[in-house]
Each structure stands twice: as structure tokens, then as C-alpha cells.
């Protein structure tokens, strides 16, 4: 069962970098969206440094959205989902494997690149490790929650906008604690408390997300 989980995850990661996969698009979008801020806000390094944490987090949320609509839809349309449901892996684990693949292929590269973009926005050097850690711990929740919305809209054509409406409000707790951790580096709040909450959110959605998504997919397959 673990083997099937791993194989499905690797296939999804592979497909995201093949023709029609969205990984390159997501990474490029992240870079372009962040680069817009210095143009919009002006080159004042104090202002940029103040908003850098929020900018990087919001750019990550929007990049995650970009690829969610095809998370299950491609498999649903070509019949793969039916065959996966009849395989050795229970459907919640199929969902978990696909959500994890989404995170590894699309969001982990963003997390790794984020200190670079933090520097570009004049974020203090001492905040960079915290930014990296916060994104690393917090972004799995984006894939796991996004999977629920993707499952609910799997049969909807052009479900992308609907996913954004469904899922962006649910991203708010992750956003608050993610930016909170970066802002807390100045010593006025606790970094570790914010990181703990981020980790808690990711773990909670790792349990509830796949179960809810599997229910939604089962309804769609009927």
C-alpha cells in the first residue's frame, strides 16, 4: 500500500513537469507576482521590508490556486480517477498522495526560492530563515485545503474561480500565522508560537482534508 502511495505521488510529480503540467507556470507566476510589488509600491526599502512577509505569503497562496483546478479534474475526465478508486489504495490515501505531490512539485520550489525573493524585497537577513521555515511548515496546508475545494469542483467546468472563492477565506489562518512568524522576528512576539500554529494547521488539514476530499470525489464519480 505504501508502495502504491509512493508510485502515485511520483507519477503526479512527473506529470507536473511534463507537457501540460503546471509546475513551471506556478513558479514563474510566483516570481512575476512578487517582482510587481517594487514597481507598485515604489523602491523604498523600508516599506518593502515591512510588507515583504505578507507579499511572499500572498504570492504563495495565489500561486497555489493557479494549479489546483486540475488537481483531480484531469484524472476525473480521462477515467484515471475511476481506476485509482479501484486500486489497492483507499481513496483518502489517493487524495493524500496527490496533495503531497502537488506540494512537492509546485510549492516546495517556491519555498526554496523564497529567501531569494525576501532579499529582493529588502527583508532583514535575520528574518530569512524564519520566512523559509514558516513557508515550509505552512504551505502543505495550502495543498491539503486546496484539494478539498478541487474535489468539490471536480465536475465543474471552469471551476478555477469557484475554487478561489471557496478556498481563499480558508487560507486566512495560515496567512495570519505565516506572516505573524516573519513579523515576530523583531522580538515583539513569539516566532515559535506562530510556527506551532502553522504546523498545527497543516497537520489538522492533513487528517481532515483527504477524508473530506474523498467524500467529494465519491459523489462526483457516482
Amino acid at each position: 500500500m505504501l508502495r502504491a502511495f509512493f508510485i502515485l505521488m511520483m507519477r503526479d510529480i512527473g506529470l507536473s513537469y511534463k507537457q501540460g503540467g503546471a509546475a513551471g507556470l506556478v513558479i514563474a507566476f510566483y516570481a512575476v507576482a512578487i517582482s510587481l510589488f517594487p514597481f507598485g509600491v515604489g523602491p523604498d526599502s523600508a516599506i518593502l521590508a515591512r510588507i515583504a512577509g505578507g507579499v511572499l505569503w500572498i504570492a504563495a497562496l495565489l500561486s497555489a490556486l493557479l494549479s489546483l483546478d486540475r488537481l483531480f479534474q484531469a484524472d476525473y475526465e480521462d477515467g484515471t480517477l475511476d481506476a485509482l478508486a479501484l486500486g489497492p489504495l483507499p481513496l483518502p490515501l489517493v487524495v493524500l498522495a496527490k496533495a503531497l505531490a502537488h506540494w512537492l512539485a509546485m510549492l516546495l520550489p517556491l519555498v526554496i526560492l523564497s529567501p531569494l525573493f525576501g532579499l529582493m524585497l529588502h527583508l532583514e537577513a535575520q528574518a530569512l530563515p524564519t520566512l523559509f521555515l514558516a513557508l515550509l511548515i505552512g504551505t502543505p496546508a495550502l495543498s491539503l485545503l486546496g484539494a478539498v475545494a478541487a474535489g468539490l469542483t471536480v465536475a465543474v467546468r471552469r471551476g478555477g474561480a469557484l475554487i478561489a472563492l471557496l478556498v481563499l477565506p480558508l487560507y486566512i489562518p495560515t496567512l495570519i500565522f505565516g506572516v505573524g512568524a516573519v513579523d515576530a522576528v523583531d522580538g515583539l512576539a513569539s516566532v515559535s508560537a506562530n510556527l506551532n500554529f502553522l504546523g498545527g494547521l497543516s497537520l489538522m488539514f492533513a487528517v481532515l482534508g483527504p477524508l473530506a476530499t474523498a467524500g467529494a470525489l465519491r459523489l462526483a464519480m457516482e
Partner: protein, 274 residues
């Protein structure tokens, strides 16, 4: 039996009551290596499936607000294929999805060896190979990559996946197509790749939705051979088709089970405001 069960069915087996649930636990324990047939057939063709009976009792299926069929009964013994006939929209595909456990019947019961599918939804999950209208293949991957994924994903560790894969490629004549990406194949070639998936894991029940569509005459014959071998080793198959295929087993014309407008099912509370 039930009032709706008279029309269209030529054969009823009485085997639904044979409760052989115990056999399932020793599923592949009784596997023996028989001498390989001279025609180079798939290695798994030498492993008999454990005895299993598929039965449907008084099945009804609803699609949206409409009753598609009702009062459907059948029993399928090992080595038999159930051919489903009927005009478009008569519920052939819907019935296949019910049997795969992908959707629940509106009423009635599906039994595998006497065990009710509604009680254990995962009962058939690893007994079934479902080849639907959609092919479950990825356009961006080559034929080999597609088959390799399913072979690894479906493999249970107890079988020689490499040999199964070679046999699947061989039986559907895919040797020359392996390196070609799927988007460059014709629809008949794609269909063959998707049918090769059936051989990647030995499962007793095949559910096939119009398996001969898009296949040329030579490959239709190969498919019939394949089905014959599957049935000969104690497998079962349910096929939705428009052709008359020469396979042992009952035939079912779903047209005979479409609801009349005064059928009792229409007075169920669910339909009152429709």
C-alpha cells in the same frame, strides 16, 4: 422471483446462495504453476481464480431524477460473461459502475459470493478491472510509461509484474508502440493500450464498456481470445456491447427493464414532486 425479472433474460443461475466467502481469504494461496501453454499465453493464464459468483438482486438505477432500469436480476458463475445489450441510455454503463462499486444502486443488492456490496463498499475494490469509456491513460506519457504506472500501482507484490506487463504488451500487439507518446496514437491503438491494463493485475471480474469500439477486426478477435482465456481460468466478465460476441454466459437486454410510467418505483416519495 420478482415481477420485473421475466423480460429479456434467458438464463438464471441458482448459485447466488453458495456462500464461499472463506475462499477469498486464501485467494492466491492455491496457486499452482501449470505447464505454460505452447501458444505463449500470459503467465497468469495458468493461475485459476478462486471460485466466485456475482449476483444482482432486484437492481434499480437512478440517473438524475430518472429511473433508468429496475427489477434487474442476474447471476454470473465463474467462467461466464454477462453481455449487456440495449439502446443508448438504457443504463449499460450505469450498471457497470454499480457493479464496480463506483456508485450505489438506487435499490436492490449486488452480491459477490453471497456477501453484500452495500455492507462492505471496498469488497470488490481489488477484485475488479474496470475498463470504461474513458481510457485512464495520460496523453503526455508514452505507451510504456502509462502501462508501467498501472503495473506498479496495481501490483500487489505477489505476482511477477514484469512478466504480466510483457504478456499484456504481447497479447495486445503493442510492441512497436511502446516509445510513442499517447497523444500520437489513433483511437484504436489507444483502446488497445487501455485494454492491456486488464492484464497488468490478475483480477477475477472484468467490467468492460464497449470493449470492441474502435478496434480493427484482427484485434477484436484478439480481444475475444483474451476474454476466452480469462473466462477459462475461472474469471467473470460483464460487457456492455452492441455486437453479438461469442462468449459463454447469459445475455441481458436492458431495454426490457426500463420503467413503465406507472411502475411502482415512480410512486416512491423521491419522485413525488418531480
Amino acid at each position: 422471483m420478482d415481477p420485473g425479472s421475466g423480460a429479456g433474460v434467458t438464463k438464471f443461475g441458482g448459485g447466488a446462495d453458495k456462500s464461499l466467502g472463506a475462499d477469498r481469504s486464501i485467494a492466491y494461496a492455491g496457486f499452482m504453476t501449470m505447464p505454460k501453454p505452447a501458444n505463449g499465453a500470459a503467465p497468469h493464464a495458468t493461475q485459476p481464480f478462486p471460485h466466485a459468483v456475482l449476483a444482482g438482486h432486484d437492481l434499480a438505477c437512478r440517473r438524475g431524477d430518472q429511473l433508468v432500469f429496475h427489477g434487474l436480476n442476474f447471476t454470473l458463475e465463474p467462467g461466464e460473461a454477462l453481455c449487456l445489450y440495449g439502446p443508448n441510455g438504457s443504463g449499460k454503463t450505469s450498471l457497470l459502475r454499480l457493479l464496480a462499486g463506483l456508485s450505489p444502486p438506487f435499490s436492490g443488492e449486488i452480491r459477490w459470493n453471497g456477501e453484500a456490496l452495500s455492507r462492505t463498499p471496498a469488497l470488490l475494490r481489488e477484485q475488479v478491472m474496470f475498463a470504461g469509456f474513458s481510457l485512464a491513460l495520460k496523453e503526455a506519457l508514452s505507451v510504456y510509461e502509462n502501462l508501467q504506472f498501472w503495473s506498479r500501482f496495481l501490483g500487489d507484490g505477489g505476482h511477477d509484474q514484469k512478466a504480466l506487463m510483457e504478456a499484456a504488451i504481447n497479447r495486445l500487439g503493442l510492441e512497436d508502440l511502446l516509445a510513442i507518446p499517447l497523444h500520437a496514437l489513433s483511437s484504436g491503438q489507444r483502446k488497445r493500450v487501455s485494454l492491456a491494463r486488464l492484464l497488468l493485475a490478475p483480477r477475477p471480474l472484468w467490467l468492460l464498456d464497449e470493449p470492441t469500439t474502435a478496434l480493427d477486426r484482427d484485434h477484436q478477435a484478439r480481444l475475444i481470445d483474451l476474454l476466452g482465456d480469462h473466462l477459462a481460468q475461472g474469471g467473470l466478465a460483464v460487457l456492455a456491447t452492441h455486437q453479438s460476441l461469442d462468449l459463454p454466459g447469459p445475455r441481458l437486454d436492458l431495454d426490457g427493464y426500463a420503467p413503465a410510467f406507472d411502475a411502482p418505483a415512480f410512486q416512491s416519495p423521491l419522485f413525488e414532486d418531480g
